[in-house]
């Protein structure tokens, strides 16, 4: 039963990205292009997603305890900074982050297979380099 709820959650996430057109890299890049014809739609998506998510976290189980899979346990370190910067460069180059890449893959959009494969390649390289420390879970 729980697996169907998780599947439904994945459906909701993918539908949200589709409805809001965040699966369109041109639209994402238009948000990131603050010196161009700026489209603030992505900010609206986040501004609406965050309060709804916050309600869920507030009502959810294990309130107050460090939740499984959450990254908040560590400090703001060089690793976090370097990772965010590398991700930002990749996001800015193509206009795709992991979620929209997966939904685009579901649609069979051109290039989506290459993009998702490259994400997996980058992740595999990270694992191979052994940069990973003891933590096995994170915010993702």
């Amino acid at each position: 039963m729980r697996v169907f709820i998780v599947f439904a959650a994945g459906l909701l996430f993918g539908l949200g990205l589709t409805v809001s057109a965040m699966i369109d890299p041109a639209k994402v890049l238009a948000f990131l292009d603050i010196a161009g014809d700026w489209d603030s739609s992505l900010a609206v998506v986040m501004a609406c997603a965050i309060p709804v998510a916050a309600i869920g976290f507030r009502w959810g189980p294990r309130r107050g305890a460090p939740p499984a899979g959450q990254c908040g346990g560590w400090g703001i370190d060089a690793r976090l900074v370097a990772g965010a910067v590398l991700f930002g460069v990749g996001w800015g180059l193509a206009g795709y982050c992991p979620g929209p890449g997966l939904v685009a893959l579901g649609l069979g959009r051109p290039g989506s297979g290459l993009f998702v494969a490259s994400i997996l390649g980058g992740m595999a390289l990270f694992e191979l380099l052994g940069v990973r420390r003891a933590q096995r879970r994170h915010a993702g």
Binding site: F7, A9, L12, F13, G14, M46, C48, I76, A94, P98
Partner: protein
């Protein structure tokens, strides 16, 4: 490059759907809906809970089909860059999200909703870096 239109209505609906997904995954399974983490931990030999990870990702991949079944055409098109750049971007996204433990969903939505200082910093950094990258590509190199 076509002029993009600001679409606050669909953005708001989509945002509420995404937030609902995050809340549902947390309430039903006690998990954070961070896409790069859900995906990346499948590659980790010690990774746990393969079933729920695959179920969530399968839902995401199936979502646009449901959208089409409802009679709508998913908005937008394919990539706006060539294959080489797309592959480089994917590699950076994959490596960077593992190093920084999160992407737009994990840090940008879940982390901020939990008021995590790490996620606030990460989100600010990847937003600024991505905007800077677009600026360089479009207005310095491509200007």
């Amino acid at each position: 490059m076509p002029v993009e239109q600001f679409t606050p209505g669909s953005a708001a609906v989509g945002g509420v759907l995404i937030g609902s997904s995050v809340a549902l995954l947390w309430l039903a399974a006690g998990r954070i809906a961070g896409i790069s983490g859900i995906l990346g931990d499948l590659l980790n030999p010690g990774g746990e809970d393969v079933v729920w990870r695959v179920a969530f990702l399968a839902g995401m991949i199936a979502a646009p089909w449901l959208y089409q079944l409802a009679g709508s055409v998913p908005p937008g098109g394919g990539p706006v860059v060539g294959s080489v750049l797309l592959a480089v971007a994917g590699g950076l996204v994959g490596f960077g999200t593992r190093l920084g433990n999160g992407c737009t969903s994990g840090h940008g939505v879940c982390g901020i909703a939990r008021w995590s200082p790490r996620s606030l910093v990460a989100t600010a950094l990847f937003m600024v870096t991505a905007a800077g990258t677009v600026f360089v590509v479009r207005h310095v190199v491509g200007g």
